[in-house]
Each structure stands twice: as C-alpha cells, then as structure tokens.
Symmetry: C2
Subunit: 255 residues, 2 copies
Amino acid sequence: MPLILVTNDDGISSTGIKMLARALTSVGEVYVVAPETEQSAVSHALTLHRPLRPHEVDTNTFCVNGTPTDCVIIAVNKLLPRRPDIVISGINHGGNLGDDITYSGTVAAAMEGMILGIPSMAVSLVTDYTDNGDFHKSESRFVAAAEYAAVLSKKILAKGLPKDTLLNINVPDTEKINGVKITKQGKLAYDGAIRELSDPRGRTCYWIGGGIPQWEPGEKTDLDAVRNGYISITPVHLDLTNYEAMKYIEEKWEK
Amino acid sequence: MPLILVTNDDGISSTGIKMLARALTSVGEVYVVAPETEQSAVSHALTLHRPLRPHEVDTNTFCVNGTPTDCVIIAVNKLLPRRPDIVISGINHGGNLGDDITYSGTVAAAMEGMILGIPSMAVSLVTDYTDNGDFHKSESRFVAAAEYAAVLSKKILAKGLPKDTLLNINVPDTEKINGVKITKQGKLAYDGAIRELSDPRGRTCYWIGGGIPQWEPGEKTDLDAVRNGYISITPVHLDLTNYEAMKYIEEKWEK
C-alpha cells in the first residue's frame, strides 16, 4: 500500500488539507505533517536557528512549529515509518500561478519532496484570480480538487514523474471543469500595493499585500488554463539557470 | 549618479554588507536597507501577516524587522528617493551554489529586484564548500569580493542585463583568484542531518542543519568554478517550467 505524506502552508487546521487527506485514504496510507500555524508566502524557508517540535494531534497526524519545508524534512527523516512514495502539498486556499510560485510555501513543500528524491506535487484551488467574482471557497470545491489530486496521485504512483520534476496543479474554482492542460509558468507582477500606517507610538509602518496581479498574456500558461476553466498541470524543476543569458553574457559583455 | 540599493540576509550588522556598501560608494549613491536580524535560509519569504517598521540607523541606512524580500519591496516603494538603478544583495557569509539558491534569502532579494524590473545581483563569499580547509572569513576576503561586486556593477550599469535575469555571483575564499567563469547551477543534496534533542520538559525536538552537501559532478557548474578558484557568475531566471517534462507528460501519460 503506498505511503503518502500530506502537508501544506495554510496550517494543519485548514479545510484544504483535511479534504486532501480524506480523499487520499482511497489511494494509500496517509500521514499528515503540517505547520501548526499559517505559513503563506513563506517560500522555501528552512528553520535553522531553533529546534522544531512535532506534536501528534491525531492518528498519523502531526503539527510542527515550522515551515512547510521543515515539515517535509522532519516527516521524511523522523516521523514516518518509512520513506513515503509520494508527497502532496495542499489543497492551497488560493492559486499558485506564474512567478508567485517562488513565494509559495505550498509549492516549496513539493520542491523539498523532490529534492529528497520523492515524486511530489502541489495542489491549489484558485479562488483569487478568476474574473467572474465567483469566489466560493466552499467545501465542495475543495472536495472536487482533492478528488482530482487523488486521481492524479494514482497516475504518478503508477507511471512516475520525469527526473527532478514536481507537478504544480491549479484547479479553477468553478462548478464545471472543462478538462486538464499541461502548461508553462506564466508571468505576473504586482502593482506594489503597500499600506502605510502608524504604530501605537506614532511610528510609520508598512504592510505588504493587497496588490492587484498584473498578468502578461501568454498562450499555454497556467493562468490561461485556469481562466478558461481547465485544471493546470505545470511541471516544475529547480534549475534556475537562464541558459540563453549564459550565451548572451559570454558573447556580449564578458570580455 | 547611479542609485544603488544594497541588502542582504545576514542582517544589517554583518561584515559582508558593510564591506559591500563601502566598495560601492565609488560607483554611485548607496542606500542600505537590510533585515535587523539574521535571515539565512529564509528564501523568497514575504511578511504578509503583520506590518513592518523600518528604522533609520545611519545616513541612508535602514534596518527592517522583516525578510530580505520585504526590505527590497519597502526600499523601492517607500524609502528610496527614486527607483534604484541596481539592487545588490550580499556579501553573503557562505556560498549560494546549486539547488541551495532556492533556500537563500540573499538570492531572493535579487529575485525581488528583478521582479520589480531592476537589474539585480547576489554576491556570496564561499567559505563553506572548499576542500582545503582554508576558511578565512577574514575582512580582507570580504573586501576583495566587494571590490569585484563594484567592478561588475559598473559593467551592469553600462551594458544592462538580459531580460528577466539576475546574476548569482560566488567568490571563492582564496588568496589568488584565477578569473571569472559564466556557469550553470549545479546539483546538490544534503544527507539530511537532523539533530534530535529533548526540550526542558522532556519532549523530543529536531534541529535541522549540519548536513554534508553531496554534489553531483558537473562541468561548467557554479561549484566547479569556485572549487577551481574562479569567480562564478550564474545568470538566473524565475521560469521554473521544465519544458522537457511538458513534452514527456503530454506524450507518455496525459492520455
């Protein structure tokens, strides 16, 4: 029976991880090891400056006072009875699309699984980038995303993944899903919305967030798929080298 | 006169950032905006759950109670008199090589500069991966790395960088530097060293770190260059799509 490690960045109490763990019981033996508090936008951060304490909150269910990456490292090395066959992170509350994946704790947990040599995927329910104001975040939509994750995990367990590759899955928050598309990462930037405020002692503070995502249009991108009602599957690796730029620099200005 | 934003992940008090800021005064007007405490391995994390307070500790020098990415966002949007011409992150105390760059706060700060459309680079002094036990971390080695960063920043200001590309620079900690190589990101993994300990109440805790890096040998990699006494320049972008894997999945198992 496959051993499945489930984690996330929204924390152990979130709806998304509960629905995911429940759906995966049809696929294998499920262990949940997740942050005890929300860790959104925590990226691939590792906690090196203090010890971490796992707390068993239920059968095969642990919370850890750390990041999603910490959870994967401790789960694989210390908490699970053996090496898991797959790592699944999610269901994230909100999309992980375009350049945003570099901030995502959800995707980072799957990166860590992949670095450890385990087939891994991140699954997100896209409630925040749709145009139609149809922001349900309802349990039934999480259930649908979790059921798709279960189907896909069976495929991965049977057929494997290409070397050094994780899957970043985004499921649109709509009643009717049109199908599945293999996509590339889109391009986005925020218009830098920062709220300025005063602390109780009158000193100026800044609160990051609330920016409006600005998308570069692009065919076959993750956003394009989700906007059109398709589940997006982006194969992701960690080689950040810009090979084109290597040539450019060597030829144009290295001498 | 060029406006230069300097940041890091070791914190405002580290030797590396001081030497970097000093060397760059020969290139332009320098602003330092850096975390008030060490933020190593914090990756591209953003602080969204609380406000951030910059504190002006010296002329054009601010510390922020946040991550390196927070520092870049607040500096560019709120603290600097105008948009900077270049963002330089470092000098990191230790290398940022191979897959480790996905954990690095130093590299993430340069990523954020790049996302904001500003030419950016990260500079690290590699004191931890050399074979010869020659771990100086002496001020003179930081000065040498900072002087090279100043030379390179002039080149970037004059000639620009390819679109959506930052430079990840690693300088070997040796007396005699053999030259400069344009490199690709190497592959590495850790042997998962986790220390197990008890907290004062007798509960088991784990402390991540201290693993020995295991390198896959590879030509033209960042590590290869540094090991041979060369400064490594890796052009880095944020498109994590594995295009090869897109084809593989479409052909082999999507149907």
